[in-house]
Every structure is written in structure tokens, then in C-alpha cells.
Subunit: 122 residues, 2 copies
């Protein structure tokens, strides 16, 4: 994942309504859910939501498909995976600190005697 795409994805999620929207779509699963339902569940004006959907879509975080009159939006899990991958990679991997499953341990080494923390967890 390019840094540009990472920034785009982060920006897309860095807004309350969009984060909630995305969260809702994640809960809805790969099936997704119609825009109107998202709008009513979050109490957003349809055009406002449309604006946010666009941002999420341009960031590759969601997809759309039409189903009758409704447009069904669904979370694109791959993108979130890639984003998490980038973040954890830059947080731990390739650096002098280990990284638990998704914990990304800081390897907080005090200057004192603690040389054996759970550094070995990985």
C-alpha cells in the first residue's frame, strides 16, 4: 500500500460520520446495506451521506452495487487489512521492537533493569 493511499484511507476514516458509517458497514458484513438504511440509522441527510460515501469509496474502503432502487454499500475489508498492515509495519516491524498479534508493543525499555519484558511474545 502506497503512502498516498494510506493517507487517503486515514483521512476517509478521520471523520465521525464516516467512521460510524464504515463501522456500520463492517457490522453489516460483505452483504452490505442500502444507503438509506445507513442514513436513517445514523440520522444523516441523504445528500450528506452521499458525500461521505464518495470519500469512503475513493479511499477504496467501500464498494457499491445497485439492487433495485437501492444502492448497497459494503465494506472493502482488504483495504482495512492493508491499512492495518501498513500501520503495524511502521509501528513495529523493521524497527527495533517486536509486535504482538495486533498489539504493536512499544518495547518500552526503561533505562533500568528490565531487559526481559514480554518482548519475546512474538
Amino acid at each position: 500500500m502506497e503512502q498516498t493511499d494510506v493517507v487517503a484511507a486515514l483521512a476517509a476514516l478521520a471523520q465521525e460520520n464516516r467512521l460510524q458509517t464504515y463501522r456500520l458497514l463492517v457490522q453489516a458484513g460483505p452483504e452490505g446495506m442500502p444507503a438509506g438504511q445507513v442514513a436513517s440509522e445514523l440520522g444523516l441527510a441523504p445528500n450528506t451521506l452521499s458525500f461521505h460515501f464518495d470519500r469512503l469509496r475513493q479511499a477504496g474502503l467501500v464498494t457499491v452495487r445497485r439492487e433495485g432502487r437501492s444502492l448497497i454499500y459494503a465494506a472493502q475489508f482488504d483495504t482495512m487489512n492493508a491499512l492495518l498492515g501498513y500501520l503495524t509495519e511502521n509501528c513495529c516491524r523493521g524497527v527495533s521492537m517486536s509486535c504482538a498479534p495486533q498489539t504493536c508493543a512499544p518495547a518500552a525499555r526503561q533505562p533500568k533493569t528490565l531487559s526481559k519484558r514480554k518482548t519475546e511474545t512474538v
Copy 2:
């Protein structure tokens, strides 16, 4: 981690210069590095960088301490951990899909015969 804080952290990272800054600090480790060094490595004007540091600090992603004339900025790993935790939680946990270490599997089920997913993994 509150949703507000998550949004703040995401917004803080959703900018090229800040993401690079943070990345640099992560590489520098808990020791951190002086503002000036970050500025010269990224080719940013000192006041511009100061602005970005503020954002990162307000989001709890970095800390500062003075050392002589220099202000040493360091990544606050806990916050990134919390952020990753929130994202993975909302991406996988509590939802009908399992989550590999930090992979956050989409549980990509084709519309065909799969009625028994790994839904029980959680």
C-alpha cells in the same frame, strides 16, 4: 479508546508530512529525536513542523521533552496500539468474521454453498 479520540488520532495521521513525521519518530524509538532533525530529514520549515507536532501531540501520538536547546519528540506507542485495537475491533471482533493476528480477514464468502462459515471463530 473513545471514538472521538480515534477520529483525532486518524486525523493526525491523515496527512503526508505528519505520517512521515510519526513514522520517523517510530523508527527513532522511545528515545525520540529533536525537532530540528525531523525538520531537516523531511525538509520542512520549522514552524510548519511545529504546527504538525502540535496536532500529533494533541492526538496523544507523540510526547515532548526538552534536552538542552532541543525539544525531543518521541512516539507514544500506547496510542497507536489503542488505535489499532479500535480498528481491528471494529473490523472483525464482535462481528460475524474472524480476525487473524492483524489480518482482519474479510470472511469472503462466495454466494454459493458456504452456509457454514468460520463464524464460530469468535
